[in-house]
Every structure is written in C-alpha cells, then in structure tokens.
C-alpha cells in the first residue's frame, strides 16, 4: 500500500472515531445526566431555604470553631479563598491537591505534631484522620471515632444535650457499600447543617 493511502486511511479513521467517541458519546451522556439525574449531574449541590447554594453533599468545607464539628486538615483549605485576595485564582476554577509528603519526610513529622497540639488545645483527642491530610483536600468525611471525640465540645458550645448531637451524628454517617466495601464516614457539612437547623 502506498504511503499516501496509508496516511489517508489513518486520518479518515481518526476523524470518524473522533466524532463517535469525542462528540457523540460525551454529549449524549451529558444529556442523559441532565435529564435523568439532574441533582447528581450538577454536583449534588445543597441549598438553603432561600435557594442559595451552601455546599455540595460530596465536598467538605473547613470548620474550625467550637460550634461545629471540625473536618480533616486540607492542603487547599477545601478549595476556599477570600474573594478580595484571590491572587492564585482559586475561585476561578476550584482546586484539589494533597501534601504528597513521604512518611520519612521531616515536614510531615513537624506538621502532624503541630496539628496534634492544636487539636488538644481545643479539646479534641486526636485521631488518625484528624492528623493526616486527605488525598483530595476536599474529603467530606471524618471517621465516626473522630466525630465522637467532638460530641461533648459541640454539645457544650451549643447548649444541646449530648445524646441529641449523637443522634444527628448517626443520621449523617454514611456506611459501607453493601456493608462490605469502603469505610463508614460522618459527612461533616451535612452534620453541621443539621445542627444549624435545630430550632431553639
């Protein structure tokens, strides 16, 4: 076969398969997503009573005060920034990231020690997930142990009985798939939204 025919065939197949896999397939899937699963397809967004977006059921947020359950430490502060000082352009795109520190990296040792001291200062017994930074920096969960270690503090700050807080925690715990695959996690944003929703 001549060189020109070889090239021509390669180009034609590339273009035909491009139309099928790079245009038809994705756009059909977007249409199916938007029609059949509008909630999930748009990012599982949670809104308040006024209809404003307050977060995503799948993405964590930073919490540091006594009134809220704290989330895990994050390299990107959960893709947040002050809109008036966002030189890095975080709010233009949203970001994710991890420390990528090796277990032998002295920086890791130093940071974990500082985090543990800070947790103890605010009265939280450190657990592994509260010391280690997550893979995405957006982890929506903490372990049930990490949540239990915070019940007394949050209950006291809000003047609520501890068992009421514990019930809310249980309601916002997502279990393993089929009871087998994955690990249970407490969805911190949902739990904190549920706390805010309690009428006084």
């Amino acid at each position: 076969m001549s060189f020109a025919r070889e090239v021509g065939r390669a180009v034609r197949f590339t273009l035909v398969l491009w139309v099928l896999t790079a245009l038809v397939y994705p756009l059909v899937m977007v249409a199916i997503g938007q029609i059949v699963f509008p909630f999930q397809a748009n990012g599982s967004l949670l809104s308040n009573a006024q209809g404003q977006v307050v977060g995503s059921a799948l993405i964590g947020q930073p919490f540091t005060s006594d009134r809220y359950f704290h989330s895990r430490p994050s390299t990107t502060r959960y893709s947040t920034a002050d809109p008036s000082h966002d030189a890095a352009g975080i709010l233009n795109t949203g970001v994710s990231g991890a420390s990528n520190w090796a277990p032998t990296n002295p920086e890791l040792r130093r940071r974990v020690r500082d985090t543990a001291a800070e947790l103890q200062r605010v009265g939280i017994q450190p657990t592994a997930d509260l010391l280690y930074r997550s893979g995405s920096s957006l982890d929506p969960h903490i372990t049930p142990e990490a949540a239990r270690a915070q019940i007394a503090r949050v209950a006291a700050a809000r003047g609520l009985p501890a068992n009421q807080v514990e019930i809310l925690m249980a309601q916002n715990t997502e279990g393993r798939f089929l009871g087998i695959f994955g690990e249970p996690g407490v969805n911190v944003l949902r739990l904190n939204l549920a706390l805010d929703a309690i009428k006084h």
Binding site: V7, R9, L20, N100, G182
Partner: protein, 564 residues
C-alpha cells in the same frame, strides 16, 4: 483489620469470576462469532469502515499491522495536540483556560495517545472541558482499542491464524467492548453521584465563615471516568484523580472502578484460552499474575494498616496511615486501588502514592517493572506470553531439546524479539534517563521528599512513563521542560518498540509449520512449566531493577524501622 481483608478478598473474587465471561465474549467478537449486539452494531461498524475508506478489511502482515498502528496513532497525536494548543479559542471553556506551554501539550498528547495518561498538570486549572472530553477523552478510547487490537493480533499469531486487520480490530474494540460498557458504566456512576455537566464551577460563601468563598470544580466527569478505568487510561478529570469525591464519591463507585481496572487485562488471558481451545493452559497462566498480585496486596495493605510509627507514637497506639487518603476508602480500599492501578497500567489513583509507606512504594514499582501482573490493556497479556516463550527457550536449553510453544518451533528470531521486549527496552527507557536526571539532580530532578524516597520519585516517574502506567509520586515537580521531554521519550519507546516487536513475533509464529505433538514434546500446560515461567519472570524481570528497589523503597523501609 479482618473487615479490610474481606473487602480485598471479595474484590479479587469478582475480578476472577468476570474474567472467563468477558474473555469468552471478547473471543467471540474477534472470532466473528455471533454476539448479542450484532443487530445494532453491524450497521454502525459498516458505516465507520466505509467512512474510514475501507469497504472490505483484508488481512494484514505483521509489518502492515504495525505500520497501521503507527500511522493512526500519529494522526491522533496531531489532533490532540492541536486541540490542546487551540483550547483558548475552542468552545466549552467556562473557566477560560488559555494555551498551555508547547512542551506540556506535547507531553500530554503523547502520554494520552500511548495509553499512559501521565499528567504533568492539574486538570481543573489547566484544560478546558473541550480539551478534556474531545482530546483526552478521545484517546482514552483509541489508545485502549489500539492495545486490545495488538493483543488480539498477537493471540491470533500465537494460535497460527492470520493477524487480522488493525482498523477493523480497533473499531470493534471500541464498538463492541469499550463503548457499550462505558455507556452503562457512565449511567451507573451518574446515579451514584458523579457529575456530568457543561456548567462551570460553583462559587458561594462557606458555611462557617462567609468571608471565605468555596469554589467547586465541576464538568462532564462521569463519561470520562468510566473509560479512564475501563481502558487502563488513568488520567483524572481533576488534579487528585479518583481521590476527588466527584470522580469517586463512595464505596460503590470505588468497587466499579477497581473491577473495571482489572477486567479487560485479566479477561484477555482467558480470551487466549478460547482462541487456543485450551482453557486449562489459560487458567494456569492466569495464576502467575494473580499470585504476584495477591502477594503485593498483602505487602501494601499490611504496611498501610500498621501506619507510620512516628505518628502512631503521637497517637498513643497503632492507626492506619491516612496521609493522602480519603476516609471513605481507608487503608484497605486505598491499598487495593494502588496495587490494582500499578498492576494493570491504569494509573488512576484514589490515594496519593507518594505518601504510602515504603512497602507500598515497593509493590507499585515492582508492578511497573514486571508489566505482566495482568499488565496494560492488551500489552500485558502479550508480554506474559513473551515470557512464556522465553521460559520455553530456557527450559529447552536445560533439557537439550528444540524449544516448541503450541507446536511451533521457537528459533533465533523469536528469542531475539522476545528478549528485546523484556530485557532491553524497558530497563533502558527507565534507568538511563533516571541516571541522567539524578546525575544533575539539583538542576533537573525537582525532588520534593528528601532521602531515599527522593530517588524513588525519579525512578517511579520514568517507570510509570515506560510502562505506560501514568501514576506518579506526585510531589515531584515534573512540570519542567526536562521532565516533559525526557518522559516523552520513555513513553514512546515503552509503547511502540514493544508493539512493533510483538506484531513481528506474532507474524513469524503464525507462519510456522506446526510440529506434531509427541511423547517428547515439552508440555506447556502443566503446573511445573508455569512454575518455571514464574521463576523466569521474577529473575529476568525483577533482578534488572533490584538495585533501584534496594536504594529506594527497601532503604527507606530500613530507615523507618531504624527510627527515622
């Protein structure tokens, strides 16, 4: 701890159960037997072949097949490069991303066309939606289909058939295997929470501190996600890949991804069994990668479960290593994903490999050095059989008999091609550039973790490129001109030299006159022979790289055991 091992065991069981089913289906497709989707797909394939300029796909020789692979992949490379460089003026760019540097675009295009998906960029901050789905998503199908086509041609040659037609094989790999499974998988992923939208990021005040805004990146993720894992591609839509809750929101999606990652490479061994009409041999061969996989899983999972001794001392008890890991996956699903993804050359990650304990780093590197622990899409199976040919040669020398495989004499040409594949290309594409980079480490390397781990970072990057895996020890600053160009060389050498050699090897085997089976024939479908092959794999495949392993993860493990 037991619960974690149960998760690991069930996942492996699902993979093993799927292999013969999918393997038989793939064999039916490429033996042109009737399959369930015929009524819909025959007309579609006819249209594609006609538009491609080929009304009757005739058989190709090994060299013609190889030329078709190279020509088509080169055309795809150009399309992808142009889309990436022109993304600023192309549609579907809600975050207004501009033109990337030429060497990043070149590296990305090569990396995706070679089925590697090594990423020297962060998806959400670098590329437009159009670049992601129309350029990168495109190669996810075609590069995976190229791998499957090569494996099928190789299996045909091995079993004495003509190699077939590359374009027809590639089209069928897409229309019969990758596309139908992706459509179903994408819908399931969407139902489970993975986004699929053309709308841009959402920005809103955070709950606790309204002066701080949160930006949530979105995009057409679900359709991209499924072909990412199914095609052993591994390139994430977002920077943190399957650790990102939008790519992999829960235990269900994680299970789908794990099974998708191993399903095709493991099934192709069974496909061989159906082609050769020898399922017994296929199952025996299957046990080699399966056993190595289980061994590496045990090493990795145990390390992550036991955790980092320094942090454990601070916690006052043993706790798993969760640095770079998500709560919903924990140690077991993270270790499982890390081993599966490096075994199969997928390269997607649901936790950060850089932060694994050295036992995990050892397992990942070991997988990428061997390339046959099921291995890459198509190429893994072909490498495994190339090892079998070498084992036949070695055992033939030991007993002083002409080596034969499946009734075909293994002669000089076959041994040269098989050893070129296994003994030469891979170590050269990894160790030589790694040596150069480390010789000028302050100028070139961009190492982010000090000590032995830094050496592992450099070796890992080239191993990942040459094995067409694509995962990384991502702390490494790999966005530079040196990294982009030097890994591009490893990517190309690790992909196309072996593919050409495999096709020539298959061609020469398919033309050999079968020798009748006698009492003196060395049987290759026995446990003994499979054991010898496993030995050959470990000796030839691993010893070359032993110094790198000793100076990297093994030394780091001693460092930790010695108290840092």
């Amino acid at each position: 701890m037991l619960q974690g091992w149960i998760q690991i065991a069930f996942t492996l069981l699902i993979v093993v159960v799927i292999s013969p089913v999918l393997g038989s289906y793939i064999a039916d497709v490429f033996l042109a037997r009737p399959t369930i989707l015929d009524a819909v797909l025959h007309p579609l394939e006819r249209v594609i072949l006609r538009w491609g300029g080929m009304n009757t796909p005739g058989p190709m020789s090994g060299w013609q097949y190889a030329r078709a692979v190279l020509a088509s992949n080169f055309a795809m490379l150009i399309v992808v490069y142009l889309i990436l460089m022109l993304q600023g003026v192309l549609p579907f760019n809600p975050t207004e991303r501009g033109t990337p540097s030429w060497h990043l675009a070149l590296h990305t295009a090569i990396s995706f066309v070679t089925n590697t998906n090594q990423q020297h960029y962060a998806g959400e901050t670098t590329f437009s939606y159009f670049s992601q789905f129309a350029a990168l998503g495109f190669t996810m199908f075609t590069s995976a289909a190229t791998g499957i086509a090569v494996a099928i041609a190789f299996i045909r040659g091995l079993t004495g058939r003509p190699l077939g037609n590359f374009y027809s094989d590639m089209v069928q790999a897409i229309t019969r295997i990758l596309l139908p499974l992706s459509v179903v998988g994408a819908v399931v992923l969407m139902a489970a929470g993975v986004p699929e939208t053309l709308a841009g990021p959402v920005v809103f005040p955070s709950l606790e501190d309204p002066s701080l805004s949160q930006a949530i990146a979105r995009g057409p993720v679900a359709h991209f996600e499924i072909i990412k894992v199914l095609g052993e591609n591994g390139g994430g839509f977002f920077s943190t890949n399957s650790a990102h809750p939008f790519e992999n929101p829960n235990g269900w999606t994680n299970l789908i991804q794990l099974v998708a990652i191993l399903s095709i490479p493991s099934s192709l061994i069974m496909t061989y069994g159906f082609f050769a009409n020898n399922l017994r041999q296929a199952w025996l061969v299957y046990t080699i990668p399966l056993t190595i996989l289980i061994g590496l899983l045990v090493i990795t999972a145990t390390g992550e479960y036991q955790g980092n001794p320094e942090v454990n001392a601070l916690l006052g008890g043993q706790a798993p290593n969760l640095e770079g890991k998500e709560v919903r996956f924990g140690w077991a699903q993270s270790a499982l994903y890390a081993v599966f993804t490096t075994a199969s050359m997928c390269g997607a990650v649901n936790s950060m490999h850089d932060s694994f304990l050295p036992s995990g780093g050892f397992a990942m590197l070991f997988n990428m050095f061997l390339q046959i622990v099921f291995g890459g899409q198509g190429t893994g199976t072909a490498y495994l059989f190339a090892y079998l040919i070498l084992a036949v040669f070695v055992t033939g020398l030991m007993v002083g008999r002409t080596p034969e495989f499946l009734g075909r004499k293994i002669e000089k040409r076959e041994v040269v091609l098989a050893s070129l594949l296994i003994l030469l290309v891979h170590p050269i594409a990894i160790l030589i550039p790694a040596g150069i980079t480390l010789a000028f480490s302050t100028q070139l390397a961009g190492i982010s973790n000090p000590g032995f781990h830094g050496l592992s970072q450099v070796i890992y990057e080239y191993a990942s490129a040459a094995a067409n895996n694509g995962s990384g020890f991502e702390g490494l600053d790999s966005t530079t001109l040196w990294w982009n160009l030097s890994t591009s060389v490893s990517l190309l050498a690790g992909r196309y030299i072996p593919i050409v050699a495999l096709l020539l090897l298959a061609d020469s085997l398919s033309h050999k006159q079968p020798v009748p089976l006698t009492a003196g024939t060395l049987r290759t479908d026995t446990g003994l022979f499979v054991g010898v092959t496993a030995g050959v794999i470990l000796i030839l495949g691993a010893l070359t790289f032993f110094p790198a392993l000793a100076l990297g993860p093994i030394a780091e493990a001693f460092q930790i055991a010695g108290g840092g």
